[in-house]
């Protein structure tokens, strides 16, 4: 009576090859349904972060070039397109940071060292309050009120 040799590794492919994985595909409803719109709007905040940063860089560079360059920049900032862009950037980035703070509690551990973690609403309200205070202080300094 003959015994068949048991196959030790039943999952082993007949010949070696690259691991097969399914190609990535977007989830159902992407990008128009559910939370995907807010998710994408949040990610698009990156565009405003970059463009406003480059405009700040342009302003600091103009400051280094002297008063004439600075006044020329201020003149170009009076273009309605720049004003509308900055208004939109203000609204978008405000929503961006408040959404980040709303999502923040979900990323935190149950305890902060020896301290028990505050309720999510307290964390979100505290961080949003910090944003309001910092924005008011920075705006007052830029405005020349401080």
């Amino acid at each position: 009576m003959s015994h068949a040799e048991p196959r030790v590794d039943a999952m082993k492919p007949a010949k070696p090859g690259p691991t097969r994985t399914a190609p990535p595909r977007p989830p159902d409803g992407f990008p128009s349904q559910g939370n995907y719109r807010a998710y994408l709007a949040f990610a698009f905040g990156g565009f405003f972060l970059m463009t406003v940063s480059f405009l700040v860089l342009r302003a600091v560079w103009a400051l280094g070039n002297g008063e004439a360059a600075w006044n020329q920049l201020q003149g170009s900032f009076q273009n309605p397109i720049y004003v509308i862009f900055h208004g939109l950037a203000f609204l978008w980035l405000t929503w961006f940071i408040l959404r980040l703070f709303r999502l923040f509690p979900a990323t935190q551990p149950k305890r902060f060292g020896p301290l028990k973690r505050p309720p999510d609403a307290v964390l979100t309200a505290g961080l949003s309050g910090v944003f309001v205070v910092v924005t008011l202080v920075v705006a007052a300094i830029l405005w020349g009120a401080v």
């Binding site: 463009t51 406003v52 940063s53 600091v60 600075w70 009076q78 980035l93 405005w143």
Partner: protein, 118 residues
Amino acid sequence: MRRMLLVLEPVIWLLFSAGMMIGGLLLPAWALVMGVAGPLGIASTATSYDHAFALASHPIGRLVFLAAIALPLWGGAHHLRHLWLDFGGLKSDGLVGALCYALALFGSLAAIVAVIRL
């Protein structure tokens, strides 16, 4: 290129998270005062050269302006790279990611020069 981006991921993530926070906290006030109120003539002091130069050339001012320029560039670059990935750009991730971070690096180096030459 993509392999190098994976190796640099922890550093990029650090700059990205700092950029989101600093950019989100500082840039809305800048956009409102210098981009809207100033040009509309509501905040005339804000747009005066002497006031702006005094703020930006102070040692603390230089650091704040450097942080407000350089860090959000990395936050924005990482966001835009991942937006590209979300829309199926995996095959071109090496090129697009490198371009995004190169832009952020260029802006960061220019920001260092800009605050030094004040």
